[in-house]
Point group: C2
Chain length 201, copies 2
Amino acid sequence: MKELPVEAGTATQVLDVAERLVQTRGFNGFSYADVAAELNLSKAALHYHFASKADLGQALIARYSEHFGAALDALDIGAECARAKLDGYVELYEGVLRDERMCLCGMLAAEHETLPAAMRDAVVAFFDFNEVWLSNVLEQGKREGDLQFAESAMVRARILMGGLEGALLVARPYADVSRFQQIALHLIQELEAHPSTARNG
Amino acid sequence: MKELPVEAGTATQVLDVAERLVQTRGFNGFSYADVAAELNLSKAALHYHFASKADLGQALIARYSEHFGAALDALDIGAECARAKLDGYVELYEGVLRDERMCLCGMLAAEHETLPAAMRDAVVAFFDFNEVWLSNVLEQGKREGDLQFAESAMVRARILMGGLEGALLVARPYADVSRFQQIALHLIQELEAHPSTARNG
DNA sequence: GTCTATAACGAGATAGAC
DNA sequence: GTCTATCTCGTTATAGAC
């Protein structure tokens, strides 16, 4: 039986701090010293939990992907229609921005040429599973008649994800959530099925 | 009278190499040593031309913005309609990706929290002038009847620019230009005026 | 304008005590 | 599991010769 996380283990605390640092400063923009200082640990203690920075990076992507996947599972269970799932998906991104962060994998995508191969692969895998999930939601929405789009569901999924990543990227230097919201609203609304153009009433 | 750039000055060569390194590895992902090695110069020689890395960074954004602005001026003169200007704008981004690069300011936007204030301001100014140019093109297209959109021209400009930046960001780890093209095509096509929905025939 | 040399610092990482 | 101490290397930057 799992205990309540009254006090998170050190490894978890390290991941929490490192995750925030990567999402705000980039993988090349933070150091073990930064994490250690924030947790009042020594650098050596960090190396005990994550032998190398590359290991820490892989662990960060793995956990982020798990958490994101769990959030998508929750949407699959809780949301009543495809449109509601998309709203939930957008809110995940908006939450990241409200926290003054970039998507972890969006940040790492920018730095991808400097990353160890394992991290690069994990970033691509993150995008892949996002696209597959979105693609399924889009297919559902089309099937059920509350979403419409001309492209394949996979291409439309790429348009959505790319649009949201770009909206985060540009909105952050402005520290302006409404910039993100304007773009996100458009991406959702252009998928709405309008009676006048829908197939067969 | 300007001379032909048969042999570019050292400062220009430094900017060329540094620009490519920032666009591929990020501002925190390259060093003076990298640039010096590539040009067979000493690090000290670089410091003669650009006293600090922050100075080099500012010079990079300034030159990139000038070049980009000149390209937009050329589109204003050469393109026959708003739609053609947008095509040209998209091609600028596609050229960056074909060179296996990220937009300089898109990359710096990701790293913005780690940048000197002057660089941060210059990045935002780059986005601002892009949005103003796009907004004017969109207004022109609406006026002349070959573009249509529901939002304000400024909001639509943000949708376009954010979409293209995001398309670059995600396409690059895949090293797949078609990923970018799919998104860019959608962004342009959704602006096309269709007779069935256009105002007053 | 470019060099060698070096300063001053911070990075990632390791050894070994507790 | 965390520490101190240390190593090695790379970083930005400067001094002063050529």
